[in-house]
């Protein structure tokens, strides 16, 4: 009887450990650091990427298709000071957008709700740089509405980027007010 209980316990714990490790690896295995951009991470989910079942699993488990193979998918959860991006604060996204056929930027919360803005919706500065606000209320200029929720994830998807071999310089996120 005692032996049977040990077998049962080993199987229950094994099942739990296997399932929990799968959830954790699906969440984290497709994420790669972006050289020179400490706050950004790149989520790779192309067919040739290592650990493809994990990286594609991240998207499809949420009911979303992985981004096209020709796109690069960058994410960040913190501003330039290293604090979590929060829905009630105002941020300004600056820098020069990557040379690409198209790009979109989106904010999502834990519930997976997204507000997005595309390349054509953003008015660039005279020097071609980006000045995009993340704010929960209207502000002058281009803006992504902060969805409700305490912490947010900023996603930057670049479709068919040029110069894929050179290191990328991704936009900055500075807190304006809170």
């Amino acid at each position: 009887m005692r032996g049977f209980l040990h077998i049962l316990l080993a199987m229950i714990v094994g099942t739990a450990v296997g399932g929990i490790s799968a959830i954790g690896m699906i969440e984290n295995f497709g994420l790669m650091a972006v050289a020179g951009n400490p706050h950004w991470q790149e989520r790779r989910a192309g067919p040739g990427e290592p650990f493809s079942p994990y990286s594609t699993g991240y998207f499809i488990e949420q009911g979303r298709v992985p981004p096209p193979a020709s796109a690069r998918f960058f994410v960040r959860t913190t501003d330039d000071d290293g604090s979590l991006i929060r829905g009630e604060c105002v941020y300004v996204v600056g820098g020069v957008p990557l040379e690409a056929r198209w790009w979109t930027m989106a904010l999502g919360n834990a519930q997976g709700r997204f507000n997005a803005i595309g390349a054509a919706d953003v008015i660039l500065e005279g020097d071609g740089s980006l000045r995009l606000f993340i704010a929960p209320y209207p502000v002058p200029g281009s803006r992504i509405l902060s969805p409700p929720g305490s912490t947010l994830t900023l996603t930057y998807v670049v479709h068919e980027p040029q110069d894929v071999d050179i290191p990328v310089v991704l936009p900055t996120v500075k807190k304006v007010s809170c």
């Binding site: 199987m11 799968a22 493809s52 699993g57 488990e61 009911g63 193979a69 198209w102 390349a119 068919e160």
Partner: protein, 192 residues
Amino acid sequence: MFRFYWFTLFLLTAIASHAAYVLFVPGRTFDDKLVQTVGPDSSNRFLILSSDQAQQLVPASGPSDIVGLCRFDLSKGPVVLQTTPPKGFWTLSVYTETGTQAYALTQSQVGDSFAVELTENPDIIKKFLSAVDATQAEQEAISNEGWRISVSDKKGLAVVWVPLADHVFRTAAEARLKTSRCGPKSAQVSGG
């Protein structure tokens, strides 16, 4: 000795449950969510999603983007997707049932209008038979016109994503994409 046995049992159970979760749970969840989004009778038809549906399906898509999709089912033979996307940038991505990307096309690779034939990867016996039967191989080569995509699963998803430069183009762009067709190659293909 007994401790080693329990540890081995624990390890094997953990590996099995890990592999089962990674290989089956996301795909099953995706299929369920997709059916909830587009309905159960959406197989082998070309559909244009509403803005909310599109934002649920395509990560980081904008409110003015247009997303068309075909949930293809190859169990009764090849499926043909004919589409005429609006002018400008667009992508076509073909995914297997498990979410693996089988193919991707953009407007820079094809013209204004194109057709894609989706077929299932032949198993090893079919490959052997076509290798020894020259007539069959020739027939396949003759029918191989345009784009032909082989996928490893019987079911999957073809997604056409069109970001728009301006909201005012949406009606015209949607009308153009609505002429797309998706259905079995053997039958008259149906549109959305």
